[in-house]
């Protein structure tokens, strides 16, 4: 590696003290994100996706939270950074798009004002200049009549418009790293496609790297360079997007892929679902967390499998490489194999 990656997380662990013991929301997570890279993080609700990005921004404020490990942004350690310094990064070099555009904006301020206050917090612009920039940003994210929309309140805009406004706000200080937490979940499909298009353009126009959290594999397939599959706070599998879809290793990934309706080929009678529920993080089994729901479980699963494989493709599963194709056909049918 010649230059330091934009973001490097090592052995991140986020746990919460509760009355019934420690809850590990994120456990031993490591990842690196290079410049202009789009990385997708997928997993069910509660798998630790959101906690990971909140930890990056230092936004876990629960006094019972314990954050361990290392998060380096441009080589600088973020964990333990004083709030003053952290604030300079937040909304500046690292920006975040939140999941629900309906609640992410303060209802009592106009869209323009909310963007302006962020710009002025980080750049020494006059109000006039910041306002002009806000309008230009709204225009850039595809909002028609941006000058008028800037003077509107959030409740006067549709969900798609609000999400664009939230994205415009996140982009207002040219972030090097954009953390997008399910940016399309609350939106309908046509708007989703437009928003994804917008995120893709960020890389080309703003040179940003993006961490995209989603539980929608279709979204990942469309725009991510690499994918991290999380389960119960841990990485189950990580790979380049093409490799993950062409040759998934982890049974949990198979489960996720099996639950996506195929767009071509014969219509399936039923989508495959993963039996059972995600485990409670409170009493995680000592071995592989996915074991209780896994069809291929064996004695070896009782010890926690490490993340293994070449840097380009790793999975935390004991199933041997030579067994994978057969088991996968069993799980998904010839569908993926054919893809």
């Amino acid at each position: 590696m010649t230059e330091a990656p934009l973001l490097e997380i090592r052995n991140l662990r986020v746990s919460f003290r509760t009355e019934r013991g420690m809850v590990r929301a994120v456990d031993d997570l490591s990842l690196t994100i290079g410049a202009r890279e789009i990385v997708g993080i997928v997993g069910e609700s509660g798998s630790g996706k959101t906690m990971t990005v909140l930890a990056i921004l230092g936004l876990i404020r629960d006094p019972n939270a314990v954050i361990e490990g290392s998060i380096r942004f441009r080589g600088r350690e973020l964990i333990g950074l004083p709030d003053r310094e952290m604030r300079r990064l937040r909304g500046g070099a690292i920006a975040m798009i939140f999941q629900d555009p309906m609640t992410a904006l303060t209802p009592v301020h106009t869209i323009g004002r909310q963007i302006v206050e962020q710009i002025r917090e980080h750049r020494g612009l006059t109000h006039r200049a910041a306002w002009d920039r806000a309008v230009a940003l709204l225009d850039a994210v595809g909002i028609p009549r941006p000058g008028i929309v800037a003077e509107r309140y959030p409740h006067e805009l549709s969900g798609g418009m609000r999400q664009r406004a939230v994205i415009a706000m996140a982009l207002s200080c040219d972030p090097a790293l954009l953390l997008a937490d399910e940016p399309t979940t609350a939106l309908d499909v046509t708007v989703q496609a437009q928003i994804l298009d917008l995120i893709r353009r960020l890389r080309t126009e703003f040179d940003s790297s993006v961490v995209l959290i989603t539980h929608n594999l279709g979204v990942v397939a469309e725009i991510a360079d690499a994918v991290i599959v999380m389960y119960a706070g841990r990485i189950a599998e990580r790979a380049g997007t093409e490799a993950l879809f062409a040759d998934p290793w982890h049974p949990y990934t198979w489960g996720l892929l099996g639950s996506v309706p195929p767009l071509d080929g014969p219509r399936l009678m039923r989508l495959t679902s993963i039996p059972g529920l995600p485990p409670s993080l409170l009493n995680l089994p000592p071995g592989c967390p996915f074991m209780p729901r896994c069809r291929w479980r064996r004695d070896a699963c009782l010890a926690r499998p490490p993340l293994e494989g070449p840097p380009a493709h790793q999975a935390a599963c004991v199933i041997a490489p030579e067994e994978r194709p057969a088991d996968r056909v069993q799980a998904l049918g010839p569908l993926v194999a054919a893809r």
Binding site: R88, A95, F98, P107, V108, E117, V166
Partner: protein, 312 residues
């Protein structure tokens, strides 16, 4: 507003004139009055006429001619009495309100900014003490200190004797007279509003838009004052409208009595004591005007605070 006032006036009228067992003539004539005396009283106060007529006459005298007279001090006009008492109560409550809004904003914001620290705990205990102290006790204690024990020291020698001084005659004198009553009226509300505001600000902490504001890199002070406070003010203003209306309408009775202020509260209290029906009617009408007014102002304030309420 007119409808509300009409409703209230009818209700009050019925309560005092038409409730079974509430024969005003019997109250006026006194205990063990002979039937003849009763008849005489009835005729002389117009109580022998049909109820709607009595009501209409009373309203006419109260609102149109303004010559409604007291049942107790015959010949004394009721309306000027209220008009004279109103500035006293208004001075007391307006001044107190300024103090309590300012005080509770400071306490609520400070406690929320330092939440779960010693500062927060200390302020909350203080405000709980403020809420727990009865206003008449606080008033008497302040009187004891400023009028009696320490009156001759440098600290409190400026405090004038009890009683109201008109604002227009000498504003500085007015201010000096009212300051101690204001403080004692405001203490309870500072505590109450400070706690309500803190709770609401701390609750706002959970909101997504606060997290967004934080993710934008705004300072904690900025987040608290520009984002959290603005939303918390909605509950604050509602509460304020209710309390303010009630106090202006005579609810500051205890403070008025303790500080010898002849305000509307005192007037109503005396009228109730002697069952002076025309006076009760007048003070009730006066206070309902203020309660309704205060609520109207609150509705207007909502629109200023929260754009979602604004009519398009």
């Amino acid at each position: 507003m007119v409808f509300v006032l009409f409703g209230i006036s009818v209700l009050v009228f019925l309560i005092f004139f038409a409730t079974p067992g509430a024969d005003p003539a019997a109250r006026i004539a006194g205990r063990n009055a002979s039937p003849e005396t009763l008849e005489q009283v009835r005729a002389s106060f117009g109580l022998d006429r049909p109820l709607p007529v009595q009501y209409a006459l009373m309203m006419q005298r109260l609102f149109i001619t303004g010559e409604l007279t007291s049942f107790v001090n015959r010949g004394e006009r009721v309306v000027p009495e209220v008009m004279e008492a109103a500035p006293v109560t208004l001075s007391l409550v307006f001044g107190g309100a300024v103090l309590w809004v300012a005080g509770s904003l400071v306490i609520g914001l400070t406690a929320a900014a330092f939440r779960n620290t010693v500062v927060d705990r200390g302020l909350m205990i203080l405000s709980l003490i403020g809420v727990s102290m009865p206003v008449f006790w606080v008033g008497e204690m302040l009187n004891l200190v400023t009028q009696n024990r320490l009156h001759d020291t440098v600290l409190f020698s400026w405090v004038p004797a009890l009683g109201y001084k008109p604002l227009l005659a000498d504003p500085w004198d007015w201010f000096k007279t009212m300051l101690v009553p204001w403080v004692s009226l405001a203490i309870l509300y500072i505590g109450l509003y400070g706690r309500v505001l803190r709770a609401s600000l701390v609750e706002a902490e959970q909101e997504d838009y606060i997290r967004t504001a934080r993710a934008k890199g705004l300072s904690e002070f900025h987040i608290l004052t520009r984002h959290a406070l603005r939303m918390s003010l909605i509950g604050f203003v509602t509460l304020f409208g209710l309390d303010f209306g009630v106090l202006v309408g005579g609810g500051a009775l205890l403070t008025e009595v303790v500080f010898g202020l002849q305000g509307v509260g005192k007037l109503t209290f005396d009228a109730l004591h002697t069952l002076d029906l025309p006076m009760i009617m007048a003070t009730v009408m006066y206070s309902s005007v203020f309660v309704v007014l205060a609520n109207t102002v609150v509705d207007l304030l909502y629109a200023v605070i929260d754009p979602r309420v604004r009519a398009r």
